[in-house]
Symmetry: C2
Subunit: 192 residues, 2 copies
DNA sequence: TGAAAAACGGAACAACGCTCCGTATGTTGA
DNA sequence: TCAACATACGGAGCGTTGTTCCGTTTTTCA
């Protein structure tokens, strides 16, 4: 099944992934492709042949961690005292993931050309997990607000995305506040 | 007191403001400075002498509307049945303002070089207003969560900032959810 | 009216993601 | 073992940003 790839492509791909992970961790996800290519000791052409777009590179780098987050969902649901607690725990796991990657913002936001791929991966992988958690918490009666998983994860993502170091702002508290709101019925929307 | 400005600077400044307002409304706030300069019929140099940075231009264009939003605060507080209702109304006013400007995102987010000025204007002008509303709603006992005005406006801004047309996502509902959460005490933060 | 002062226009710069193609290198059949 | 072919490589270069710089034009006022 394996189409027999040349030795150098294998080597370069690995070098690129390692370099990208290191560079993204150091200089933030906003690091330039040139920086990554240089760190890997390859040219731009090579980088782009392996990862046709900046986003593809990111996808490759973060795929593992996203998977881990997704897989933690069912585990938390089994372990936590109530489904709502599991939901809250999982959301915070997600927040931690996003928050530690300095500058995933531009990624989370799919609008800017080129970042869509990673955004999509986030959604494809995490929405189903959140969906289960949310339904469980609704079934248990803890969550009464009518909200779709997509809406919730997107909201949380938006909240965390642009977070930078700021002593006056603790995203986690805000996210908790949002989740807390799910336990209350929503008031009428005021006239705009 | 007026330092006696030349006639052409006055004329060009007006042309630039008008053009910018029109272009921002048409092509979104992300429109290029070149586009604005062209629309105003002036060169780049002129634009930059009047507005040393892209953000300064935006500040000039949106100042009125931000002021209007700020001034609506006390009025709503006086008119609404309860302080909490006023708070919710005002927040939605703010959301409407942000949401109608297609692409204020990059502006709200001060991190990207050049957009800081407008972000600062938002905060300087609106935080005090929100502060009053929030204190009133806390005093009336409706709001029990401990949250600072800056945290709240920033959260709402973050939620709205990247909003694009999306039938599956209604920001206003999410924001309402967040505000609703203010009426409940916050649970312990789960271990990260 | 004629300099001096002030403002103008737009070519040019740096940084970005991304493309292109001449060159080097790994693979394979004889 | 060794050509010759497919494949992959490197990095100069493109198009797009916001912004700067400076030779030229316009306005002002003695």
């Amino acid at each position: 099944m394996e189409p027999k790839r040349r030795a150098d492509v294998e080597r370069n791909e690995r070098a690129l992934l390692d370099a990208a992970a290191k560079v993204f961790a150091t200089s933030g996800v906003g690091a330039t492709v040139r920086e990554v290519a240089a760190a890997a000791g390859v040219g731009m052409g090579t980088l782009y042949r392996h990862f046709p777009t900046r986003a593809d590179l990111m996808v490759a780098v973060y795929r593992h961690q996203i998977d881990a987050c997704a897989e933690a969902g069912p585990a938390l649901l089994a372990a936590a005292p109530t489904p709502f607690a599991a939901l809250l725990d999982w959301i915070h796991l997600f927040v931690d993931f996003l928050a530690t990657k300095h500058g995933v913002a531009k990624v989370w936001q799919g609008d800017a050309a080129g970042y869509t791929a990673l955004h999509q991966l986030f959604l494809d992988r995490l929405v189903p997990v959140l969906s289960d958690l949310l339904h469980a918490a609704t079934a248990s009666g803890e969550v009464v607000a009518d909200i779709k998983p997509y809406e919730l994860i997107r909201a949380v993502g938006d909240l965390v995305a642009w977070t930078v170091q700021d002593p006056n702002y603790d995203v986690r508290r805000i996210v908790t506040l949002l989740i807390t709101g799910l336990r209350q019925p929503q008031p009428e929307r005021p006239a705009s």
